[in-house]
């Protein structure tokens, strides 16, 4: 079942089109990463999906409910908006109680304090939010998004401003949400994190989705495919030359500085083929290093265009 379906969604501010006819859908229980440079339109998209901003055009269906009935499912979604503030005179726990009431969810203090602990605010739950650091406010933001075990959670940059340890904690938390069947829609600038926790990603560029798929799929579609570094020794110079010529048929950027050979191939299948030919030409292979394109490469290629 689809947790979220978006069709031709568009947002125009004044006359500036910021999100341009994007379409995608989220399967129940998946973690979906939304990437893109600053100003690409990620937050604008999240804000439209969560009822903060009215879309200019397009259709949205959340949890099987059309967008105009979004109020009826607000209880079943959780949102960490891109910028949000808290009540300076209220403690973290008081916020959680207040937000539960606003959401119309029975207040259960033990589960609220569990949530605060899960985001790393266990020791600060009775401190006033006015004294919170940026990172602590972010944690409170994540905790409030999870009130009432929502089925679909939108997290706009959940780990920005968090220290490394806290970011890891939140990463684990998102992972555990997904394993419980919660659907997560998140944005992040941390590609390593995205690579680890997201099932699928979309790369937004100037308001358009330029790439969409699993990380493996994006890799496959990516231009610079596999970078291979071979450590070798040849018995016979002329046979080595034959081997190298064969390699050049399938590979680009062949660079030789003995005992190493560096090359780039289009397909993973080319790698055993190169090895087989080496055996045939009595070239001994001592080591093989294969570098897959990282999400970073894919992303940068996108961003440089």
């Amino acid at each position: 079942m689809e947790a979220l379906t978006v069709h031709q969604l568009t947002k125009t501010f004044k006359s500036k089109e910021v999100v341009k006819q994007i379409s995608f859908s989220l399967k129940t229980g998946e973690v979906f990463g939304f990437l893109g440079r600053n100003g690409a339109g990620k937050s604008t998209t999240i804000n439209m999906l969560t009822g903060i901003l009215p879309p200019t055009s397009g259709t949205i269906e959340i949890l099987g409910t059309p967008y105009h009935q979004i109020n009826s499912i607000k209880r079943r979604i959780g949102v960490l908006p891109d910028n949000s503030n808290y009540y300076n005179d209220m403690t973290a726990m008081q916020h959680m109680i207040f937000f539960s009431q606003v959401k119309g969810i029975p207040v259960r203090k033990d589960s609220l304090s569990e949530l605060l602990e899960a985001v790393g605010l266990g020791e600060d739950m009775d401190r006033k939010a006015g004294q919170f650091s940026l990172g602590m406010k972010k944690k409170l933001g994540i905790a409030q998004a999870l009130i009432g075990s929502p089925e679909l959670v939108f997290l706009d940059e959940p780990t920005s401003t968090l220290d490394i340890e806290s970011a890891l904690q939140i990463r684990d938390l998102i992972g555990s949400l997904a394993s419980k069947g919660t659907t997560v829609f998140m944005t992040s600038h941390n590609l390593d994190e995205v690579e680890r926790i997201c099932d699928r990603i979309a790369i937004l560029h100037q308001g358009r989705i330029e790439k969409l798929g699993t990380i493996a799929e994006l890799r496959e579609a990516h231009n610079n495919r596999f970078k291979v570094k071979v450590k070798y020794r040849s018995g016979d110079k002329s046979r080595e030359t034959i081997w190298l010529e064969r390699i050049r048929q399938v590979a680009d950027d062949v660079k030789r500085s003995e005992p190493f050979l560096e090359l780039v191939v289009d397909s993973e299948e080319d790698i055993p083929w190169i090895v087989d030919n080496a055996v045939e030409q009595q070239v001994k292979i001592f080591g093989l290093e294969i570098e897959q394109p990282s999400l970073e490469n894919i992303f940068l290629e996108q961003a440089q265009r």
Binding site: T50, I52, N71, K74, I77, Y86, F99, Q101, V102
Partner: protein
């Protein structure tokens, strides 16, 4: 909506301004009630609908109600917008509930304040003029809804506070002038503002109630179209 009502209501209770206003209002009501119950004319006057035990309270609220309600709550909605807290509310409940919650809280606060005065005054005068209290509640609902509309309409608190003072002073002046002088240039205002109904024609409070509903509906419509 419940959370918003509770938070806004107790937020109103807490401030020093509201405590002073409560003391002032209760004080005036008690003094006027005492005066009436000790006056030998009271028995006679009580039969006159214009003079009842709650006259002191009504008098104060007719003169200062708008000023009190507006200045205390002019930022009920725009405060949350300016301080960027509104997104955390509208992603959890409908925008209509946010506006309704703010209105109910403001109105409840004033209903409570007047209720306290009413109880004390009733005890002193040993009378029980509930209809007078109900009139006041309609009047206060009008002020509360107008206040919510103002706070939704004017996004910046610096402007809404200025407007709240101006409106709080101008409304009773125009309203009372129109109520007592049929030849005044603002005479038509007697059917729009709640002062004529409060002072002379309680039946016209029905119009006031409808107006309160309209103001609230306008606030909801405005708020639903706002980009937050």
């Amino acid at each position: 909506m419940k959370g918003i009502v509770i938070r806004e209501f107790f937020g109103l209770m807490k401030g020093i301004k509201s405590i002073l206003i409560i003391l002032f209002i209760t004080g005036i009501s008690v003094l006027s009630a005492r005066y009436m119950s000790s006056s030998s004319l009271f028995a006679e006057e009580a039969s006159n609908p214009e003079t009842t035990a709650l006259a002191g309270l009504s008098f104060v609220l007719i003169l200062f109600g708008a000023l009190f309600v507006f200045t205390l709550s002019h930022d009920a909605v725009n405060r949350d917008i300016e301080l960027q807290r509104i997104r955390l509310l509208i992603t959890k409940t409908s925008r209509t509930s946010v506006i309704a919650g703010k209105f109910v809280a403001i109105w409840l606060f004033w209903a409570a304040v007047t209720m306290i005065s009413f109880v004390i005054v009733s005890a002193i005068t040993r009378t029980f003029v509930i209809h007078e209290l109900l009139y006041l509640w309609v009047y206060l609902a009008f002020l509360a809804s107008l206040c919510v509309l103002l706070s939704t309409l004017v996004t910046h608190r610096t402007y809404s506070v200025i407007l709240s003072v101006l409106a709080g002073i101008a409304m009773p002046i125009i309203g009372l002038w129109s109520a007592f002088s049929q030849s005044s240039p603002v005479a038509a205002a007697r059917y729009v503002l709640p002062y004529y109904p409060m002072a002379e024609q309680p039946v016209l409070l029905l119009v006031t109630a409808v107006e309160a509903g309209l103001a609230l509906a306008a606030a909801v419509m405005l708020f639903r179209r706002k980009e937050l």
